[in-house]
Subunit: 438 residues, 2 copies
């Protein structure tokens, strides 16, 4: 087998990047693979826009079905996105015995269990390296490199838009809305940024990674998800005073036969490697029994980095086709019959450190009232800090706590919020500080 | 094929780690691979020492040939080290049609071309992820994930001993000899530390990676190699004043049909991710056309991290055996017939920035004499800094240069060294600062 035929569905940003790599680096890829990867068909609704790609005549079509049903196509690359036609086309391509490559994390997070089951039953590969972390090879690392390890935890910065916005607030001290506008003007955020800034894109990714790491079914529904729109320059500044940075983290841990899988703004020590991941860059650390901890770092999005991951998948599958070794690596890292439903712990059950900020009237007894309520719920204060002094006005009162159960923290905050001397909803930001686990 | 038989040659630190993972995580590995990896034979000169491993009777032997010649053994793991018997055993095992896993970078750097050719001719796998960067999956990333990319450069911290020593000098301001003694007392440096501190271990690794990245034969001989024993707290302190850290870097670049491959202490900006890699940790960045830059970070040595990489290789090969897909990925990343001799540029031809430190008598005209000589060889000074003032005594005179050809820098330094007003051999440390390429 010295030629592999590829059909591309969707020639938007990443799709065009895939086409560009396959065309520009064709000889290089052949010299590595020993076979030619030919982009035989490209389907897109819009086939008139010039993408700077020179396709031979007959390659472009507006009809995805032409690609899926072409008996000469070996691998179908789904680059359409979304959960409707993309899903339909992937199922149809599996049914036709095509190998599949996709970067569609939203689709996999929502419908991955059914898609992977269909692919496994048909005995085809369904590769998805580009769905998480762009060019960082986190899927391959989990499925292949760490295969001898029991994986304990993963902590990642997996959304470049959010990381850019938080980096901007940190560096320039401007409010969230201005940082978002800047991200949009630079093309780092969509016109409708909700999927990114509400943390949902990150949740899709950690749902997929958790399945791979622990041998569980994909469970997006139970991933706790909190966005970054409430993060203020003031909280970032306080974080800095305590030696922390604020990042939107995807956190996944396996403990006592249950999984923690959560996405929220988090304070991490400035000397943590993740603290130095700035701008649109992504990174993920994996903790496991043999390796201790490893980190991958790189561009988590963008045309060419994401396309690089897609081409890596195309070559993996091509090598399988050449050797007659399709489905060589189990799709979700574990053998299908070993994948369990592992419960994700409700956020109310997690135990962590907290940063709390209260807007409290500067009156005698306020600190004692607030700390009394915290104490009643078993939350002990490690550091308290009150900024400025304003007669009869509000001042920020900031506290770092020892570890506490989230349910208790929420109850305490609700009680504190109802006090007359507290003038705004208290702010709570979780802290991830492994060197300080008390 | 639901069982793979493994034979281990050498049960020292890493060998014992491999055995431990295969025994302790046996069920986990089976649930991922769908077949059992059985450690059938273990050969070591010493089979009486208790390694805390419970082998069944008949597993241990003192005779490596028993393992290599056992027809039931599928994969031979060479964990002996060195270039004599290890080489002989690997050739014999290839001859017997065994698949091979090794972590032996010294052997591969010196004899890899012949070993890989023998394996390719026999059609067996020869896996070596553990030879570079411990648990960081750099070999897999180069051979598989980045397969669509043209690789431009790699910069790595690939020796934990050197990184520990340089971190110690940086943090504590103690001289090299004390930092080395501390590394030895902690078990991070060998009693004979030459292989590490002279940079040779790092050279082995970058020779292997360069071959994989650019499709060239392994060429250890031409890798320029300079160690860290001349690095002083004073130079590290000056580096800090200019916003740099000093790391022992492996640098490999592909430019104009030739390769730069060099190992030496290097100043890098403090905000470079590699500057934050401290202690015994390793990291490597890869620059390539599609991904821009990615970095891997983790434990580059040690019993369990290295064993993790070996087990990753064992599973890769097992999956190939199960599918009848041996030699699925070309051993040196490119098809054998595509591997060329690419010249490595002599160090005298490289062009970079330099940090120079002179011990000069504090007399009128010295600065002008020294800068005059530098100017004569085309080396232009970006910053000059003279510390203290000592009548008729020596003071350190420090300069950062714009880019210059190394041959010119050496000539200038030789001329300066011969001046009466210069009291010690000038210090030259190369600077790697991509944001400052003038």
């Amino acid at each position: 087998m010295n030629n592999i035929n590829i059909g591309l569905l969707g020639c938007g940003t990443v799709g065009a990047g895939v086409a560009r790599i396959l065309l520009d680096n064709k000889d290089l890829i052949t010299s590595r693979v020993g076979a030619t990867l030919t982009l035989k068909r490209v389907a897109d609704i819009d086939i008139t826009t010039d993408r700077g790609l020179r396709f031979e005549s007959g390659v472009l079509t507006t009809d995805a079905r032409e690609v899926i049903n072409d008996p000469e196509i070996d691998i179908v690359v789904e680059m359409i996105g979304g959960e409707t036609v993309a899903r339909e086309f992937i199922f149809a391509a599996i049914e036709n015995g095509k190998q599949i490559v996709t970067a569609n994390k939203a689709l996999l997070a929502a419908h991955g269990n059914a898609l992977f089951m269909a692919a496994a039953q048909k005995g085809v590969d369904l590769a998805f390296e580009a769905s998480v972390g762009g060019c960082m090879p986190i899927i391959k690392t989990l499925r292949e490199s760490l295969v001898g390890n029991r994986i304990h935890a993963m902590i990642g910065i997996l959304n470049g838009t959010c990381n850019y916005i938080l980096s901007k607030i940190t560096d320039d001290g401007r409010p969230f809305s201005e940082a978002l506008a800047q991200a949009q003007s630079k093309g780092y955020a969509e016109a409708d940024p909700a999927l990114d800034i509400e943390g949902r894109d990150t949740a899709h990714k950690i749902a997929i990674l958790s399945a791979l790491a622990y041998g569980m079914e994909i469970n997006l529904h139970d991933v706790y998800t909190e966005g970054i729109s409430h993060i203020t320059p003031m909280d970032i500044e306080f974080a800095g005073q305590f030696g922390y940075k604020i990042k939107l983290l995807a956190i996944s841990k396996f403990k006592e036969n249950a999984v923690e899988a959560r996405v929220h703004p988090t304070m991490i020590p400035v000397d943590n490697m993740l603290s130095n991941v700035n701008g649109t860059l992504n990174a993920i650390t994996v903790s496991a029994d043999a390796v201790d901890e490893i980190m991958l770092y790189g561009r988590g999005a963008g045309m060419m980095p994401t396309a690089s991951a897609v081409v890596g998948d195309l070559v993996d599958i091509s090598r399988n086709l050449i050797m007659g070794a399709t489905a060589r690596v189990p799709l979700l890292s574990f053998q299908s019959n070993q994948i369990r439903k592992i419960p994700i712990r409700p956020i109310s059950d997690i135990i962590t450190h907290y940063y709390l900020r209260f807007s409290a009237l500067d009156k005698p007894g306020v600190l004692s009232t607030i700390s009394g309520i915290l104490g009643k719920y078993g939350i002990s204060i490690k550091t308290a800090y009150q900024k400025g002094r304003k007669m009869n006005g509000s001042v920020p009162l900031v506290m770092l706590t020892h570890t506490a159960k989230e349910a208790s923290a929420i109850k305490a905050l609700n009680e504190i919020a109802s006090l007359d001397v507290v003038s705004a909803r208290p702010i709570m930001i979780r802290i991830e500080d492994e060197n300080n686990d008390d």
